[in-house]
């Protein structure tokens, strides 16, 4: 899903490690069919995965999907840089 978005030049989902480890591209699949590869359990619990909360970089759509973006990048360094 994430690769597809990047190829279209879109930016809705934040792009992190692209490998399922960092949790940045967390989304909720509201509607549609999909398959997922292994994702870090630090970011997606078993319960979350069961209710359609997944990492976009590890998810392959199998139909059109309605998606809600949950993830975002936490800024390093607490002040003065933004």
């Amino acid at each position: 899903m994430l690769k597809g978005m990047e190829r279209l030049g879109r930016k809705g989902i934040p792009v992190g490690c692209r490998g399922g480890g960092c949790g940045i591209c967390k989304v909720e699949i509201v509607r549609g069919d999909y398959r997922c590869k292994r994702m870090s359990r630090a970011h997606i619990s078993v319960a979350e995965e069961a209710r359609g909360v997944v990492l976009a970089c590890r998810t392959t759509p199998q139909s059109d999907l309605d998606v809600r973006v949950l993830g975002k990048i936490q800024r390093a360094v607490m002040r003065a840089l933004d």
Binding site: P14, V15, G16, C17, R18, G19, G20, G21, C22, I24, R38, M39, S40, R41, A42, I73, Q74, R75, A76, V77, M78, R79, A80, L81
Partner: protein, 308 residues
């Protein structure tokens, strides 16, 4: 003055989501040499120009991140002396038996104030670098991929930067080489136990125990550019680069392993002696400190970490 105390980074143990994919990445693409697999299924690798049995351990797990980073110390006397000093500092300590990692002696494990697990050890079996010690060739044949020379350092994130810097400098004898300062607040600290630009580095961020990257040395800028080619050829997730850092002057490229752990390969960074002045980057120049050419911070580089 001979080198005493902590000598160098010894190894990093990384958690990976899929072991086979990780081994392909570290062995075939980065060119680390696989030297062992243990009974727990962990894979051991080393850079070609490292003498000890391993500097990277990959453990399959359901989370990515760094299990621990270990440093080699001069000898057993040093190991026990530093253990005593760590205890006085107030660290939570654990002794890990010799052989818990095959080919590695007893380790002293401690939790740094930033939440990271570090270890010290004195003994690891010798493997060699593939070159004779009499009338040696300059490099061994059969190297693959990026031909990583050695495991060089880790950069980690944590809230109690001050505590970890105090631990590494006052207890373990590391020297501060470069820093980012926002007035009186230290935002980043780079430290060495030898003459390198850094053997470990910390950046201040809310949270504990996160890994920013594990870094491996290459020989030349051409090697870094070639690594960038391999990253594209093998469809590896790139983060940023190739470019130069202001901090350390290293010429670098960042990318992710298949589990999302960030890797760096770099060359030609700076060096220090005990009398070398500390270099300071002011917070307003953080962009240039990290990316000397673009002079712009990058959200993904700053914000994406694995672990904890």
């Amino acid at each position: 003055m001979a080198m005493t105390g902590v000598l160098r980074p010894g190894h990093v143990q990384l958690r990976v989501l899929d072991l086979d994919e990780a081994v392909t990445h570290y062995r075939d693409y980065m060119g680390l040499i696989e030297t062992h697999r243990d009974s727990q299924g962990r894979v051991y690798l080393k850079g070609w120009d490292e003498q000890d049995w391993f500097s990277v351990v990959l453990r399959e797990a359901d989370e990515a991140g760094m299990d621990h980073m270990a440093f080699k110390v001069l000898d057993e006397e040093t190991l026990w002396r530093l253990q005593g000093d760590l205890k006085k500092f107030g660290c939570q300590l654990e002794r890990i038996a010799a052989g818990e990692l095959d080919h590695c002696g007893e380790r002293v494990r401690f939790t740094a104030p930033t939440g990271h697990l570090f270890e010290l050890y004195a003994n690891k079996d010798h493997y060699g670098n593939g070159i004779a010690t009499t009338n040696p060739a300059p490099w061994p044949e059969g190297l693959k991929g990026m031909q990583a020379v050695r495991f060089d350092h880790c950069l980690v994130y944590g809230e109690d930067l001050d505590g970890s810097v105090k631990l590494f400098t006052e207890v373990l004898g590391f020297q501060l080489t470069e820093q980012i300062m926002d007035g009186d607040l230290q935002l980043a600290a780079f430290m060495t136990c030898s003459t390198k630009a850094h053997d470990v580095a910390f950046i201040r961020q809310a949270g504990k125990g996160k890994l920013h990257h594990a870094s491996f040395l290459l020989k030349t800028w051409e090697n870094v550019l070639r690594a960038a080619d391999i990253i594209s050829m093998k469809d590896i997730a790139i983060d940023i680069g190739p470019t130069r850092h202001g901090l350390t002057r290293g010429q670098t490229i960042y990318f992710f392993d298949p589990s999302g752990n960030r890797n760096e390969v770099f060359c030609d960074d700076s060096y220090v002696y005990p009398d070398t002045p500390v270099l300071t980057w002011t917070a307003d120049r953080t962009g240039q400190a990290i990316f000397y050419h673009s002079r712009e911070l990058n959200d993904r580089f700053m914000g994406v970490t694995t672990g904890a």
